[in-house]
Symmetry: C2
Subunit: 236 residues, 2 copies
């Protein structure tokens, strides 16, 4: 809905803030409904109800179900990119970077099970989420690790399946109580081995304490807060 041109500035500011809050509420509701019931079952009516807005209000923000699913996926990609930025600033070794990324990914379920279920269900099936996170890992970590001869690979074609497949499946094992959170370091170690890191190095790197990480405090951070993302406290 276009905002009337004659509105005074302070009203306009309030209007924009309210509009942003409602959009966040809808995104959060979509994540919740999808994590709990599955994307196939997540209807616009259900998402609107979970956000406590009318279906009419929903259509002021998103035209279709697909549009809000894409927005949800894009918001997770944005979070992932910011965490990877923080890891890149704090750590130089590509092997340690990937190990930390995997450990943080798994350890996040301690604070945010809704996020965990969302990832367990969609990290490999929502195209934007799957393809863009893989692209970030490939561009920033794998390419660099190959250049610096830290990784040795027959080709990079199956690397995304190794990293995402092992991590997301382990996430589900943790969520369902079939494995303790402590497997996070072992998962990182097995993936490092797959990337060609020697056994001793893989073990050492996967078990190294995670250094302090600083997430950038841009507007993005405010925008992402409603999803409840928190790094483990000891690492902030």
């Amino acid at each position: 809905m276009a905002e009337p041109a004659h509105r005074p500035v302070s009203t306009r500011g309030r209007y924009l803030r309210k509009r942003k809050r409602t959009r966040e509420r809808l995104l959060h509701a979509a994540k919740q409904v999808m994590a709990e019931t599955g994307a196939e079952a997540a209807t616009i009516a259900e998402i609107a109800a979970a956000a406590e807005v009318s279906p009419g209000t929903f259509y002021n923000y998103f035209q279709t179900r697909e549009e809000i699913l894409d927005a949800v996926a894009a918001s997770f990609v944005e979070e992932f990119r910011r965490v990877m930025d923080a890891i890149q600033r704090a750590v130089d070794d590509p092997a340690e970077r990937i190990a930390i990324a995997i450990r943080l990914f798994l350890e996040r379920v301690r604070d945010d099970r809704l996020w965990g279920w969302f990832m367990a269900r969609y990290a490999s099936s929502l195209p934007i989420l799957r393809d863009q996170t893989r692209e970030i890992i490939r561009e920033r970590i794998i390419a660099d690790g190959l250049r610096r001869r830290r990784f040795r690979l027959p080709s990079t074609r199956a690397i995304g399946d190794l990293i995402a497949g092992t991590s997301v499946t382990a996430l589900r094992s943790i969520l369902e109580g079939r494995a303790p959170l402590e497997i996070a370091t072992e998962v990182a170690e097995l993936v490092l081995r797959g990337l060609g890191v020697p056994l001793g190095d893989a073990h050492r790197i996967a078990n190294r304490p995670i250094p302090p990480l600083l997430l950038s405090t841009t507007q993005d951070q405010t925008r992402l807060r409603p999803t409840g993302y928190r790094l483990p406290e000891k690492t902030l």
Copy 2:
């Protein structure tokens, strides 16, 4: 429905054969509906319709939706066990056994995409299917490989996530056309590395021709035929 005691033997045989066929039809229909629409959306009415029987007939075979899902999972576990039997008879090295199991798992989509979609969706989420296939791999291959010092592992807690996670995620990449069928050997190679097999061995073993495998010709085989399981022709 109990069969009347006075029925003559030949009629009884016909009755049992027909009952078995209808049960198979229902199982096949359940697999199809689940692979295509997702378990959440697979209702008894839809499964009965796909099998071209009435919902009333459905209840002569299965009491609940969960009961038929469990039967579907159990039939895949049975198939998996028979393939593993054949691999164990043909090959001694635990590393080669796991590599062949992974390659056959991925290459099967060439003949049977319905099966592929079923596995991509449920191999990690249907408890009977997930837990029993992992148990078979752990008991028969991992334990043996550790005893014979073929594998080196920090613990076995994350091994199921590595093997199943990487394989099932790669299966989805192949089904969706994001990766060629040829990644099967690379997937096997990466998993072998994860298990602690040295890089050179892992590469050689993953690329070795698959020897002829003989599936046992028990009653089970007949029973399983309707699901369309076929090993790649060149390996039979």
